[in-house]
Amino acid sequence: MSDLIKLPAATLGAMLSDGSVSAVEVTRAHLDHIDAVDADIHAFLHVARQSALDTAAAVDARRGAGEELGPLAGVPIAIKDVLATRDMPTTSGSKILEGWIPPYDATVVARLRAADLVPLGKTNMDEFAMGSSTEHSAYGPTRNPWDLERIPGGSGGGSAAAVSAFEAPLALGSDTGGSIRQPAAVTGSVGVKPTYGGVSRYGAIALASSLDQVGPVSRTVLDSALLHDVIGGYDPLDSTSLTSAWPSMAAAAQAGLADGALAGMRVGVVKELNGAGFQAGVTQRFEETLALLSAAGAEIVEVSAPNFEYAVAAYYLILPAEASSNLARFDSVRFGIRVNPEDGPLTSERVMAATREAGFGPEVKRRIILGTYALSAGYYDAYYGSAQKVRTLIQRDFDAAFESVDVLVSPSAPTTAFRFGEKLADPMAMYLNDITTIPANLAGVPGMGLPMGLAPEDGLPTGLQVMAPAGEDARLYTFGAALEQLLEASWGGPLLSQAPVLTPTEMFASEEGAV
């Protein structure tokens, strides 16, 4: 295994810039590692080997010609399959889109290309981003690099596993109710859900339009910041895009590395997100992290967000409602698969229904039916209408909390990675898994997930969630980078250096064959 793959994107960028390594070398190192481990991890649904090498060679040529390139030029990146890419299949983890190659790039993908990053391929995800485990991917689950029998989180388990298994230094994710932050927690990686409207959604296959946000996935806070700077900012193609002039997130992260960055920072602990049902080791690491913050001069304040109790309920009305409408376009007319009914007349209506029956997995069907119900005449006010009101209440809770604190913290997820199948039979238990991350999506505020150590009882990663007021994404990076520095000092290095070393699959397979 090449050491190149262990390096953060910021370091790789610097080495590429000073010529100590070429983009082709970096890309090849990652492709080789993908070849070695991804048969086990299954982080990727598609690996664009040749085009990645071609892109890398083009970047090297331009740099060789003296062109001034961006800080991440030549750095490889994995792209969640929810994002449209004109040169790679885009399936959103669903059978219904099998083999579809979009005729356009998502805005964030176009920005990656413009910044000369090197797309390695597309990462696995729960079908249409519905899930917390990638078990709902139509193409089989991704495995957690810390324990192949466990889930890597979801929906962006592929992106989180790719960075934590060193298959890519960076990845793009999307977060509708925690799909970036929860996988980060259970894989020991970093991920950020930006302020709603901070990153363009154009070309991101919509799950729930008013909740979805694309964001960076990485192994370090600074790397996420660098990627955030590339993908963020106003996009006229997304009407909910904010026109704000954003500060440099990378600069904000750098500021966090300075001495005393945490001194005087008021850190709110949300009472309602740190209670019953949380795994003991998660709570323990959370308490230790608070102590560390306090020791660094931060002021820990307990705050109450009484309406967070209703967040999961509101979320599981709003999301299915919007999703039921967003997923209506998958009808076998303009793209995607077409399935004819087994018998009876071949009408458009019946072919659509047969295609959707065959093309959607059980979780997608469950949520479409739930959303259709929530929007139905006679139920709208009680369900969807009420859920939108809860949203107002949750925003008010955030507003009140941010009057007295700078950031809010909670564990990113109530537990460490669970085993495959553990929660599959009980959809509501799976849904409750998102209790910590959902409020940020409902209110539109930014949230970051970063590692806070291994749970003593199972040796698996736990994650801290940090939230800031809308538009204050930079604050997350300053806080996150400062805390990351403290934590890594306490661990004696990055948490991921404690992850089990993955055996190359081929060797593993040949050993098995020999037996």
Binding site: W100, I101, P102, P103, Y104, Y196, G197, S210, S239, T240, L242, N307, Y310, V312, A313, A314, Y316, L317, A328, D331, V333, R334, F335, G336, R338, P341, L346, T347, S348, E349, R350, V351, M352, A353, R356, E357, K365, R366, I368, I369, L370, T372, Y373, S376, A382, Y383, S386, A387, Q388, K389, V390, R391, T392, L393, Q395, P427, M428, Y431, A443, A470
Partner: protein, 98 residues
């Protein structure tokens, strides 16, 4: 408030154009009863005086200028079509006008 029946789920499946099997309808009916029971609590706090929030950011009047942007080529537009006939998308017979 959730008296969800299999008939109702079948109707929802029709609205959503999913040809669910009878077994799926039974499963989903049970799931929906459980989920709806659990999410119905939103109405506990959603009193009339609270305004609904449908967009997380309070933006208004976001407009695009009336200027033509390049369209896809016909080949791009039809590149993913399961069936085409010349430059048009082809679909099976349609039961009736909407």
């Amino acid at each position: 408030m959730s008296e969800i029946t299999a008939e109702q789920v079948a109707h929802l499946a029709h609205l959503a154009r999913i040809d669910l099997s009878p077994e799926e309808i039974d499963h989903l009916t049970a799931d929906l009863v459980q989920i709806v029971d659990s999410v119905a609590k939103v109405s506990e706090v959603a009193t009339p005086d609270i305004p609904a929030t449908s967009h997380p950011m309070p933006l208004t009047n976001v407009f695009r200028e009336d200027v033509v942007r390049p369209s896809l080529t016909v080949e791009q537009a039809l590149s993913g079509a399961p069936a085409r006939d010349g430059d048009k998308f082809r679909v099976p017979a349609i039961l009736d006008e909407e």
